[in-house]
């Protein structure tokens, strides 16, 4: 049937109208934005923005790859492998434990990436300090916290990825790239070489020194003046600036108001026993909750030993040889859980346990060593500091002291808390069959970083 003329006319009009509708479809509908994110140019406009970015920096530092625990785990697996039987299945950790790392080690890459990610978060905070206008004290605190976290990250990086102090010339040994401003976009200027070990340490010392002056004496779970001083004491110890290390430790002991926990065994299980609260001895820790936070010391050292809330991969079995190092009667000797024929340290059994970064006992040990080495008695005599630690462990007091006795006490007190690699390097003691300055004890610069940034030099042996 033929459409009549009228319908045909109507259809032409209809066609034209449809055509117009088609061609004017609205392109504005393509202007949409994400929901869980905001554009970077509107992220740091108010004091509130700076505050939440600072929280973000803590979040970064708490990630598993960094102070959530991998830094400490790597330290013990590499530096304490004579005392641990590692049976885990993460190849990156197995290789670290066997000191057979390659430049592709996933944990070496993870820690590097995590640390720099955190550093950029700190640099973002530092870039917007002018937005913090509520009180000068708040501004100081924000700046101090960002500097503390940034310096801590650089300290860990330079210790893990570069030659130790005393191994050649620190002012020419490559350290790690120093990035002190936030990244907005990536240009050629961002492909930077490694600064010298000395330059990195200088920056760390400067940042921590400044942070110590800026930070408040108390700051809930966040970094305080004492956290900065404690970290500074570690830095100086690595640098063999014993007087400065002892002084910093002394400032913490004298000023923080913290006390040693009378019972060594109550220092852990912060979640299971304390509902998440820290023992008085913690100077700085990262808080873990059921919702948030990582504790990879628990992941790898932990095990379900039948106490509700204990968990872990049972990867790090403590060798009998280690337990034999403790004197009879040492409460620390019994701080192991025997399960399935193996011993596990009780320090990291709590699935949601907080991750201690520095506790007061270390400050006594540092002060004692510094005073002993310099024949000084800043704050107290080395003997009284060491005996404080021994008494708490249920051991008889010593009457004479040697450097070996101090470092042994330090080793036993802080065992499996992630110190041993750096202790070996600091004290120039061998690790297993390897000399303290063996290249195998230095993490590789991640291959992905070498590949992408041609101005980086790889560490020897990779």
């Amino acid at each position: 049937m033929k459409p009549n003329i009228q319908i045909r006319g109507l259809n032409y009009i209809l066609s034209a109208a449809l055509m117009i509708v088609l061609l004017t479809a609205c392109e504005k509908r393509l202007d949409i934005l994400p929901y869980q994110s905001i554009t970077a140019d509107q992220a740091l406009e108010t004091e509130g923005d700076v505050n939440v970015t600072l929280i973000g920096a803590y979040d970064g530092a708490q990630s598993a790859a960094t102070y959530g625990g991998d830094i400490m785990v790597l330290n013990d697996l590499i530096g304490n492998n004579a005392n641990i039987n590692f049976t885990g299945t993460f190849a990156g950790l197995t290789d670290a434990y066997q000191t057979l790392m390659t430049s592709n080690n996933s944990f070496a890459a993870g820690t590097w990436i995590g640390a720099y990610n955190t550093i950029n978060r700190c640099n973002n905070v530092l870039s917007a300090l002018d937005k913090v206008t509520s009180t000068p004290a708040r501004k100081s605190s924000v700046e101090g916290q960002a500097l503390f976290i940034r310096a801590s990250m650089y300290f860990e990086l330079v210790r893990l990825y570069a030659k130790a102090i005393g191994d050649g010339d620190a002012s020419s040994n490559p350290g790690v790239p120093l990035v002190l401003t936030k990244t907005v976009s990536v240009s050629n200027a961002d492909y930077i070489p490694r600064s010298s070990v000395k330059a990195v340490y200088d920056q760390v010392v400067a940042d921590l020194t400044k942070a110590e002056t800026l930070l408040p004496a108390s700051n809930t779970i966040y970094a305080t003046k004492w956290a900065a001083a404690a970290q500074l004491s570690r830095v100086h110890l690595m640098l063999k600036n014993y007087a400065a290390a002892g002084d910093a430790a002394n400032r913490v002991i004298a000023g923080s108001g913290k006390t040693l926990n009378p019972d060594f065994t109550k220092l852990w299980f912060t979640f299971i026993n304390n509902g998440g609260a820290n023992p008085t001895e913690y100077i700085f820790s990262f808080t873990v909750t059921a919702q948030d936070g990582a504790n990879s010391l628990n992941t790898y050292f932990g095990r379900n030993v039948g106490i509700a809330g204990t968990a872990g991969r049972s990867d790090c079995k403590i060798k009998a040889a280690h337990i034999a190092l403790y004197e009879t009667g040492d409460v620390r000797k019994t701080f192991f859980a025997l399960s399935g024929g193996n011993n596990y340290t009780r320090k990291h059994l709590d699935r949601y346990g907080n991750v201690p970064i520095v506790r007061l006992a270390e400050m006594y040990l540092t002060r004692a060593e510094a005073n002993f080495r310099n024949s000084t008695a800043v704050g107290a005599t080395p003997l009284s500091d060491i005996n404080l630690i021994r008494t708490r462990a249920g051991l008889p007091v010593l009457t004479t002291l040697t450097l070996d006795a101090i470092t042994k006490e330090r080793y036993l007190e802080l065992a499996f808390e992630g110190h041993n690699l750096h202790e070996a390097k600091r004290l120039q003691k061998p690790v297993g069959l390897l000399s303290w300055n063996s290249p195998k004890l230095i993490l590789p610069i991640p291959q992905r970083e070498i590949d992408v940034n041609k101005s980086l030099v790889q560490n020897a042996g990779y």
Binding site: A25, P34, G56, T102, N104, V179, V184, G340, R351, D451
Partner: protein
């Protein structure tokens, strides 16, 4: 289209027939091979121009035809003829299997007869994949379309399938094709939050499908412009037919089992190996074997005795193959009902399906219920309208991802002396109150018995259209379609699983909702003009797509008891989230075809796309294509070559694109997910790139279509070249910036290859035999990535390297074992000044350079189908295969073929290890807890080629004449088997593998305790009335 046209002609001719009816009329009925009536068959008296069409019951009546030859023709059937001296004639027509007369869907309402195509479109008929127990339509394409590589990845039900059309066209952007269902681009990417990627195409009942067209070259794909670089899969569902209402019921049931078991060590063999390893380590340390602190003592007491509940020392022969604990026989049941019919004005197709499938791995099951109604209405002379609507509910009890201790297949890692049950409690090993630290690793059976994770997907595919005839030859069609995916996932982990799910001290639960709303509207004009020797058609219009994805989730711990499993009862709400992400596309397209004298064809098409995924300045892209064809057999000089019944040359060139890089890759972003200890925080999360734009692929295709011996042999030969530039690449930046990557348009890659399709009717008598064969060769090469390092997969062994295909295996080269000391050796492969690789062997792994040692992409893929029929019997045998690809077994190999670096059970081949000086073997000495050859290397890169007997179906159709009195048109019973045989050198379970935990564009070919494909056997019955 054609059907509608035919109906119109039929009506007209019937009218004529009635008008001129005389007594010499011949009446009769036309039926198909199964006795079902065929509607709309044109019946002509030879030598005359007038004719009639068969009616809805297949009957016809044609005047003045007694004694004359009648010609019968219909689309989809072979033409036939008949003479009668009486007044009635029964005619049976054969289905036309000569593919050249097929009509191929081209998108946006278009269709073309295959012989006139100038682009490359592979067509798979719904009939060929009907009632197959393949889980989804993409898996059903396997081996059916030349150049379409399908890898089902895993034997887990409903999991994602890799599909590559003519190779990988991208590195960082998605390389899966675009799926378009009845005009609507549908959500085809994983939406699950647990385990491996799922396949949203599982929600589609593949028995609803009339045809699948894969648009492979640029000419065919350009109308989908920016979204066509990976190919476009057009899925067209069945629609109603005028005529008697046809009801088909198909019921099938059977069972599935894993295609293979892997030989593992038994208790005695394991003890031999681990004690030998312990002895090595003790000897090295100088520890006497019987020392209480020796490795040997430790292994005896604390490994073998401890993990066997003390049984090993009493009965060292007692052994358990943990595969027995995790593989199972899974029943399969499926019922389909399809009802199809209609009148001249109203046509409908409706279907119902219920499917129940149990996995071949414990704890895995899938149930799907779907319904569909497709309705077409001719409102009046100028207006047609219709709707398609499908509802489905898919339930899946999921398995964890491959790289989880709770993955059932990881049970093979457990010591063979560990019994399945704790002898004290009678419960599965490791279940409290027994020792939860037995077995060696978490017993995955606990996660099946004491936990569940389920996924419920409610899916609505809907589409409605209006089609108007505006003026002669010009129509306007507007369509509105929606794909609504609503998904609920629920997990509950009882306290028994706490070793694996550490938050489940007193139970842990989670609940996630995902709501993906995907709207699409197409509006287009179609014009068609046939004048003398000219045939012109054109389509022009616009498409707008808007997708919104909303997610929410909650998680809780501390439940009163395991009887309470909803978050409402959780004392601690341990997690909660909601999020949203959107994308939009606005596109204009044009397609035109011109045919001159049925010989010369030219076609042009193009599309302008704009997307929310790119910056304002760069978000528009233009994607044109041109093609031409020459039907040489219509030329005089070839018309006398009788053997050659059809010959066409065709060529096409065009540009298509890819924008599948996720949403908002162009923006510099902060994210608010950086809270700490209960306080909210933000972090910089993405670097900005204002100039980010489409990835473009230029593709040229040259093809020959031929038909020989009256088209009994038909085929296609194609050569193509695809060059992708401006790759949407996730480019690494120095991590010292605080970021690891940025998305940039960097780099180039290319694919080229040949495709051959051959369809033959080998025997056409009572015994019929036809063969469909397709084979494709693809060579992919990344030509420029500006030195970017892009890695993925197990131990980052997959890599993108210039000069090689995407995702090649890049790792040190294994050099076997030093016969003197049992050390594993590697080739140094240091590049010398002359460019040659130093083939010196070393036992120091760190001295060995990484080189390309394999490629997970096949060089060749093929499918080979043979169909036989004799009287009521039919047999279909389908093979498919791939060649030239390697798989990476390091995922499991690093534990189970690792010279006892771990306490894991080993694969049986490890017994062939080096034992004493002089031994020649490839398996190094076993050394407890020491690395000896277990590093990533070519030792674990193995041949992944296979040929698989993918399906065999044997059926018998009862003679239609016998059924007539029961009013049954067709009754067929059949048995069918899937994956019955696999020919391969692959040492693990299944060469068709890709571990879900590592799957990405570049991470292919990885095996990580990945479940093998099921071997399914089933029997079915199909009745039509």
């Amino acid at each position: 289209m054609i059907k509608k046209l035919l109906s119109a002609i039929m009506a007209f001719l019937l009218f004529m027939a009635v008008a001129f009816a005389q007594n010499t009329t011949v009446t009769g009925k036309v039926t198909d091979e199964n006795g079902a009536p065929i509607v709309g068959v044109t019946v002509l008296v030879k030598g005359e121009k007038t004719g009639v069409n068969t009616d809805a019951t297949g009957n016809f009546s044609i005047p003045r035809a007694v004694g004359k030859t009648l010609l019968f023709s219909a689309v989809g059937y072979e033409s036939t003829q008949g003479v009668t001296k009486g007044g009635s004639l029964q005619v049976s027509m054969k289905t036309d299997t000569k593919s050249l007369s097929e009509v191929v869907v081209t998108g946006f309402g278009g269709s073309q007869i295959k012989r006139e195509l100038t682009g490359n479109i592979a067509r798979v008929k719904g009939k060929d994949i009907e009632f197959m127990p393949t889980p989804s339509v993409d898996a059903a394409l396997q081996g059916k379309a030349a150049g379409v590589f399908v890898n089902s990845q895993s034997g887990k039900l409903g999991q994602a399938v890799t599909v590559r059309v003519r190779g990988n066209s991208s590195i960082s952007a998605n390389s899966q094709p675009l799926y378009v269902l009845d005009g609507v681009p549908i959500t085809s990417q994983d939406q699950s939050t647990y385990g491996g990627d799922m396949n949203p195409l599982t929600d589609l009942n593949q028995n609803d499908i009339e045809s699948i067209e894969v648009l492979k070259d640029a000419s065919a794909g350009a109308i989908y412009g920016s979204r066509a670089a990976n190919g476009v899969v057009l899925i067209t569902t069945k629609r109603g037919k005028a005529g008697k209402t046809n009801v088909t019921l198909n019921v099938q049931s059977g069972y599935a089992e894993a295609t293979k078991r892997l030989p593992m060590l038994d208790s005695e063999q394991y003890a031999e190996l681990i004690l030998e390893a312990a002895k090595y380590s003790d000897d090295k340390d100088g520890t006497p074997l019987n020392d209480p602190f020796s490795y040997t003592t430790y292994v005896k007491n604390d490994v073998m005795d401890y993990y066997s509940y003390g049984q090993w020392s009493k009965d060292p022969k007692k052994s358990y193959d943990w595969q027995d604990a995790v593989f199972t026989k899974g029943p399969y049941k499926q019922a389909d009902l399809q009802i199809r019919g209609g009148t001249d004005k109203t046509k409908f197709f409706s279907s119902f399906q219920h499917l129940e499938q149990t996995g071949t791995i414990i704890g895995n099951s899938l149930q799907r219920t779907t319904g569909r109604l497709n309705l077409d209405q001719k409102a009046n002379d100028w207006l047609d309208l219709g709707v398609s609507m499908s509802l489905s509910k898919t339930f899946n009890r999921r398995l964890p991802d491959d790289n989880a201790f709770s993955n059932p297949l990881q049970a093979v890692a457990l010591n063979p002396m560990t019994p399945f049950k704790d002898p004290q409690t009678g419960l599965p090993a490791g279940a409290p109150p027994g020792d939860v630290n037995i077995p060696l690793y978490y017993n995955p059976v606990l996660s099946i018995d004491y936990a569940s994770f389920t996924q419920d997907v409610f899916r609505t595919f809907g589409n409605s259209y209006l089609k108007m005839k505006l003026v002669k030859g010009l129509t306007f069609q507007t369509e509105f379609g929606m794909d609504y995916l609503s998904q609920n996932e629920e997990g509950y982990f009882r306290s028994e699983t706490v070793r694996n799910q550490t938050s489940a001290v007193r139970g842990a639960g989670n609940n996630t909702g995902s709501f993906i709303t995907n709207y699409n509207t197409n509006s287009y004009f179609a014009y068609n003009l046939v004048k003398n020797k000219h045939n012109l058609s054109a389509t022009m219009g616009m498409q707008y797509q808007q997708s919104q994805a909303k997610y929410n989730s909650t998680a809780g711990t501390d439940f009163p008891s395991n009887s309470y499993q909803k978050i409402a009862s959780a004392a601690t709400k341990s997690g909660g989230s909601s999020s949203q992400t959107d994308f939009r596309f606005l596109s204009y397209f044009l397609r035109s075809n011109y045919t001159l004298m049925d010989r010369y064809i030219v076609a042009a098409s193009g599309r302008i796309d704009a997307s929310s995924r790119f910056g304002k300045e760069s978000r528009k892209g233009f994607f044109p294509a041109l093609s031409a064809g020459w039907i040489m057999t219509n030329e005089k000089f070839l018309s006398k070559v009788d053997v050659l019944s059809f010959l066409k040359l065709r060529a096409s060139y065009g540009i298509v694109g890819n924008a599948e890089i996720g949403n908002f890759p162009q923006l510099g972003l902060f994210s608010g997910d950086a809270g700490y200890a209960g306080n909210a925080g933000q972090r910089p999360s993405q670097l900005r790139n204002d100039s980010l734009r489409w990835e473009t692929t230029k593709q040229a295709d040259f093809g020959i279509d031929f038909g020989i011996l009256n088209n009994r042999i038909t085929g296609e030969i194609d050569y193509y070249q695809k060059k992708t530039t401006g790759l949407l690449l996730t480019v690494n930046v120095p991590a010292s910036t605080g970021f690891t990557s940025i998305v940039r348009n960097v780099g180039k890659l290319e694919n080229s290859g040949f495709e051959f399709v051959l369809n033959t009717q080998n025997l056409v008598g009572a015994f019929k035999w036809s063969t469909n064969f397709n084979i494709a060769f693809n060579k992919g090469k990344v030509t420029d990535i500006q030195k970017q390092i892009i890695e993925g997969g197990v131990s980052s062994m997959n890599r993108v390297e210039e000069g090689y295909n995407v995702g090649v295996f890049f790792t040190p080269e294994y050099a076997g074992v030093d016969p003197n000391n049992g050390d594993a050796l590697f080739y140094k492969n240091t590049k010398g000044a002359d460019g040659k690789l130093d083939k010196t062997k070393t036992n120091k792994y760190s001295e060995a350079q990484r080189i390309v040692v394999g490629d997970p992409n096949p060089d060749m893929i093929f499918g080979f189908t043979n169909n036989f029929s004799y009287k009521g019997f039919d047999l279909s045998v389908f093979f498919n295969g791939i060649r030239g690809n390697q798989n990476n077994i390091y995922g499991m190999g690093r534990y189970s073929s690792a010279s006892m670096l771990y306490e894991d059970n080993n694969t049986a081949d490890q017994l062939g290890r080096w034992r004493k000086p002089g031994d020649i073997t490839n398996i190094p000495q076993v050394r407890l807890y020491s690395t000896n050859g277990s590093q990533a290397s070519s030792r674990y890169i193995v041949d992944g080629s296979y040929i698989r007997l993918r399906s065999v179906t044997f059926g018998y159709s009862v003679d239609a004449r016998l059924l007539r009195k029961y009013k049954i048109e067709k009754l067929r019973v059949y048995v069918s088997g899937q994956n019955l045989l696999t020919f391969t050198k692959y040492p693990y379970w299944d060469p068709e593998v890709n571990a879900d935990s590592f799957d990405s564009n570049i991470a292919k070919g990885n095996d990580f305790y990945t479940p093998p494909q099921p071997r399914t056997l089933l029997a079915g019955i199909n009745i039509s009335f």
